[in-house]
């Protein structure tokens, strides 16, 4: 075979091998090109919404926007949650920009004791996408999207699949364009989150100035006829007790001031929902919680 033949044949040969392997291999659990696309779209899209769910990972995993509003209505909703998000000025300004200028406007704020800590206020996850330059954003929005056809495969997953070994562990994430991340973990371990969360509050307690600035923002938005609805995202009792004991965050005084500034506070029963790691809701519970949230905010959506 001459070099010329090899030049002609190597690409078709690769395509054939690739197609066969794609048919044989199991679909990967995580499509990271699509994941990055979803995050960049969440951060850099200019689309505005009537309803926004904001906060940390308990929000982006726990609130599915499709259950917040009636899909037949013109009212739209999105989830703008980020990992370890804190209510900093930049984040609140970002949220405000993504809200429609008129009509029904509701912002659902997941308030966790971590939301006002100095570490959370850095908003590193949000900034990792917000600070990307235009070239990268363009590439991720318009080019990387095509890469979702070519997900990355993991030898471990392939090995498990062909060895037909029972699944002993799995951490599943399915990223949605509306900002929600459908997730679960197998096996369930409702205590898994306790150790990292305990570390989260070492030398990192709630910052009073950040709370005050947030409450001023609530007042400002309420004055503009925006419904600010706050709630503690459901996790587990053990997690709530741990956060309350370590964070230095006083919910009762916060809720009282939140209401004084025009906010509406909602409470949810923990026993209605299941968390797979002690912090985040299993996707079925997330859907249930979102439906309940949708019912409670319905009266604000004219």
């Amino acid at each position: 075979m001459t070099a010329k033949h090899k030049i002609i044949f190597f690409l078709p040969m690769a395509i054939v091998i690739g197609v066969v392997l794609k048919l044989v291999f199991p679909t990967p659990n995580l499509n990271d090109s699509y994941r990055d696309y979803c995050w960049v779209k969440k951060t850099h899209s200019t689309e505005k919404f009537n309803v926004l769910a904001v906060g940390d990972s308990r929000i982006y995993k726990g609130v599915n926007p499709i259950y917040l509003v009636d899909e037949k209505s013109e009212i739209n909703a999105a989830n703008l949650g980020y990992s370890s998000a804190g209510y900093s000025k930049e984040y609140l300004s970002f949220v405000s920009r993504r809200l429609k200028d008129k009509g029904s406007r509701v912002i659902l704020c997941g308030i966790t004791p971590y939301s006002f800590t100095l570490e959370a206020l850095k908003n590193e996850h949000y900034h990792s996408f917000y600070d990307k330059n235009k070239k990268e954003v363009y590439k991720m929005l318009y080019l990387s999207g095509y890469l979702k056809t070519f997900p990355r495969y993991s030898p471990g997953e392939i090995w498990d699949y062909f060895s037909e070994a029972p699944v002993t562990h799995l951490y599943f994430h399915d990223f949605k364009e509306n900002g929600w991340v459908k997730s679960f973990k197998f096996p369930f371990d409702s205590t898994a989150g306790l150790i990292p969360y305990r570390k989260n509050f070492v030398d990192n307690t709630s910052d009073d100035t950040a709370v005050e600035e947030y409450l001023n923002w609530v007042k400002k938005m309420s004055d503009k006829d925006v419904e600010i609805i706050g709630f503690r995202p459901p996790s587990t009792l053990a997690m709530e007790q741990l956060e309350d004991s370590l964070s230095g965050f006083n919910y009762s005084s916060f809720i009282s001031e939140f209401k004084q500034n025009g906010g509406v506070w909602l409470t949810f029963s923990l026993k209605d929902y299941v968390s797979y790691d002690g912090s985040h809701l299993h996707y079925e519970s997330a859907n249930k919680f979102s439906k309940n949230l949708g019912l409670k905010i319905d009266k604000y959506l004219k």
Partner: protein, 471 residues
Amino acid sequence: MVFNSLEFLLFGLLFFLLWPLFKKKDNPRWLYLVTASFLFYGWWDWRFLFLIIGSGLIDYFSGLWIDKFPKFRKQFLILSLIGNLGSLSIFKYSTFFATSLDSLFWKLGVQTNLVANIPEFALILPVGISFYTFQSLSYTIDVYRGRLNPTKNILHFFSYLSMFPQLVAGPIVRAKDLLKQLSKVPTVNALQVWHGIKLIVFGLFQKVVIADNLSSFIDAAFSGNGHYNGTLYWWVIMVAFAFQIYCDFSGYSLIARGLAKTMGYHFKMNFNHPYLSSSLKEFWGRWHISLSTWFRDYVYIPLGGGRKGLYKGMLFLWITMLLSGLWHGANITFIVWGGMHALFLTLERFYSKVGILRKTPKGVWILITFVQACVAWVFFRAESMEQSLTVLKSMFTFTSSDFQFLTTYFDAMVFLGIAIVIEISVHVKRTKINVQTVYRKFNLDLVFIAIALVTIVMFRGEGQQFIYFQF
């Protein structure tokens, strides 16, 4: 832009589409190469272009004037040295030098804050500055030594200096090799194109499949998020790092050579399976060959090389290795890395003469050399001296290991295994003639390249910058 990116794929396709239109005449060819290379480099940050143009102009005119005004040739060489090493010092070493001086003065009881006074622009490290300054320097030094006639055409010069395949991470191409090639109309036949494709695909495989898939395993360990410890764990980490850095850098060099070959140019081999070396001397003849030979020709030999006796030769070796360490990074750890190699090379000079040791099988020496390289890599990878010593302590105190990491990082172990198997296969292919015959007879290169291409798409690691860009 990096080779393993979508924008480079588009850039490369466009470049090769238009290349036949420009390559036949000198000035259009050089102008096309320079424009494409500046676009490639400016894609990171267009302001970096001022630096490469500035240092390039200094060397272009220094070369011309050295030739034209022989009386002042030394002065023009000094001008070039100041221009190149000056910009390297400002952009790469100012923080390191300022921190070191601050620390020294503090120990002497004087409080200074030189770091705070470094201008903001000097804190930015332009991509590949060490590579193109060394390439540019070799031009003026060769002109000064009378080994090269300076080019009078500025486009010709800049097409040599900025040629995009090797601009940011080498190989460091010598002017006397490339200027001559650039002055001719490049011709390419099917065999060269096929060799070019093979180099590009295998280079991408090394980078995207091996190096990128090993990075999270190694980064977790060095950032303290690995949750594991023990002797076995750290040895596996260091073996993985040895292959990560090798595949990362060798991958880049292969892609650069492949691109050049497809254009009709030839770059010398930069990596020749260094972990198959049976001595550290041999290792340095196979690892980053273009830099090793640069230091040999422009530092070690001018100092006196091995001509001035054993002890002076060793002193020059130490100077060269320490400078090589400093070239890699502005941190004490890189200098110690160079020092470790100098130490091992010094010891090697002595024990290689011991009769009994000479009879030791080659395989054992390959293993010993690899272990030495891994130990030295600890300093190269660690964030600080303190961390280096902690890692070395873990490697040599034989503490128990939690084997759980082998399953947690199962994927990384698979890719490490593949990297090792490839190196062993290369060794077998080189030494067994019947394997070579089978390889040719069944056109296994075609099969392997097709498989490598599929693997790049399906098993690519998370996109990482090339490690050597920081140098």
